[in-house]
């Protein structure tokens, strides 16, 4: 089966529709599916719901789809880096559902694993638990959270072979693995497609079964907070 596409636009061809639900990988601007986001912007798909830990910054990441008003709702844990997001949210143009970060990750993992709901202690006694079922286990209260299944997953890895077995680099793995598993279709973008058989089968982070379409391309990989320490004196 051929999974490799020439570019992000052709990889997304036939998958996009107005009002759809997309799960996106990445944490901040680290490991985000830059190519797919740009292609969705170019396609002009509207009324999107995104499950993504963050909302990018004003001019990068999901931020580029906020600028064009293509996003109707965000399911995120933290959106503090995006001024345009805050403006649209406070003016009522954009719907926002805050999920605790671990609950969001587990909702994706569970959805991809055939688990429709799970009980967690996270958020009990807070606004997050309002309107949700509570249940006691061993004398402690837990809240029911739903697994999520998205129409489409867009994720970014470092390398993949031609069957979609993928490896990530350092902290760029983050939400990409759970997001990949929770989509009915998963489009993976990578920095490099390598020959099948060249990745160590014992060190695959995302098995190719989760990946339906693959595209290779150059990534900007913008740094959000450049922090350094001084070099020790050469002397």
């Amino acid at each position: 089966m051929q999974k490799i596409y020439d570019d992000a636009a052709s990889a997304l061809d036939g998958l996009l529709f107005d009002g759809m639900f997309i799960a996106a990988g990445g944490f901040g601007l680290c490991g985000i599916p830059e190519l797919a986001l740009q292609a969705i912007k170019d396609a002009g798909t509207k009324d999107l719901t995104f499950a993504s830990n963050n909302a990018g910054v004003d001019d990068f990441g999901i931020g580029i789809l906020l600028q064009t008003r293509q996003v109707r709702k965000m399911i995120s844990s933290y959106v503090g880096e995006n001024a345009e997001f805050m403006r649209q949210y406070l003016s009522g143009e954009l719907e926002l559902e805050f999920n605790p970060q671990g609950t969001l990750a587990e909702r994706m993992r569970a959805g991809g694993a055939g688990i429709p709901g799970f009980y967690t202690k996270t958020g009990v006694g807070t606004v997050v638990a309002e309107g949700k079922e509570l249940k006691e286990f061993d004398g402690e209260p837990y809240v029911l959270e739903r697994g999520m299944v998205a129409d489409l997953s867009i994720v970014k890895a470092w390398k993949a072979d031609r069957t979609g077995n993928a490896v990530f680099r350092k902290t760029a793995r983050n939400f990409n693995v759970p997001a990949a598993t929770c989509g009915r279709v998963c489009v993976l973008e990578v920095e490099e497609i390598v020959e099948t058989g060249s990745l160590d089968p014992d060190a695959i982070h995302l098995p190719g079964i989760y990946v339906h379409r693959i595209v290779q391309g150059a990534h900007e990989k913008r740094i959000e907070q450049r922090t350094t320490r001084p070099r020790p004196d050469a002397a």
Partner: protein, 208 residues
């Protein structure tokens, strides 16, 4: 003299024991890493890393290697990387011994508010709700009063909660307090701070 940011961080570092896996929040808690001395502390970054190293040397920043505050960092010899679901499995599963976090308000029953001011600050809770629900011990580091001189140690929180009954110890610029049955107990006063001074800036019930 009340403690400054660095003195509060140094005091918080005394909470950590050799061999602990620890999660540090953003702000003053991040400074705690500078004061662990010879203790072998493994820092967890909830975006998917155990064994967080210091900031990189200039020119060696790696966009694929950041902490939960989105800052560029480095790895150590013992570093391990994992995905976000695994990261919060270890947090929720009680594998992290201690979290040191900032706060807006703490109540005398250990309720914590540190993520939202309705109508003003709407950024999100990030991983804070998972951390306080899951880790072994929650230590809050914050100023004792806000910039208007109002106590941040309250009978009841006024802001939306991050968790209920989750705080174990509070380290402020005026001293150290524990959440105990019936209220807060003074454990320690900052150098030169009197108990009366601390009491006058504490709304929460203080118990002996």
């Amino acid at each position: 003299m009340p403690w400054d940011r660095n003195q509060m961080a140094a005091r918080a570092a005394e909470e950590l024991e050799d061999g602990m896996y620890v999660n540090l929040g953003i702000g003053i808690p991040t400074l705690v890493a500078n004061y662990v001395g010879d203790k072998e502390i493994t820092l967890q970054s909830e975006n998917g890393m155990l064994g967080m190293g210091p900031f990189p040397l200039e020119g060696e920043e790696d966009p694929d290697l950041i902490n939960a505050g989105k800052q560029t960092i480095t790895e150590l010899r013992r570093t391990a990387y994992f995905d976000s679901a695994t990261s919060f499995a270890m947090i929720r599963g009680g594998k992290i011994a201690c979290a040191i976090l900032g706060a807006m308000e703490v109540a005398e029953n250990g309720d914590l508010a540190n993520w939202m001011i309705p109508g003003k600050l709407v950024k999100g809770m990030g991983g804070a709700m998972d951390l306080v629900a899951g880790v072994g011990r929650v230590v809050v580091v914050m100023d004792h009063a806000n910039k208007h001189g109002q106590s941040k140690l309250l009978r009841e929180c006024t802001l939306p909660l991050t968790g209920t009954g989750v705080v174990d110890r509070i380290i402020t610029n005026l001293g150290v307090l524990d959440v105990v049955e019936g209220g807060l107990r003074i454990v320690e006063l900052a150098d030169g701070v009197t108990e009366d001074e601390l009491r006058s800036l504490t709304e929460a019930t203080l118990v002996a």
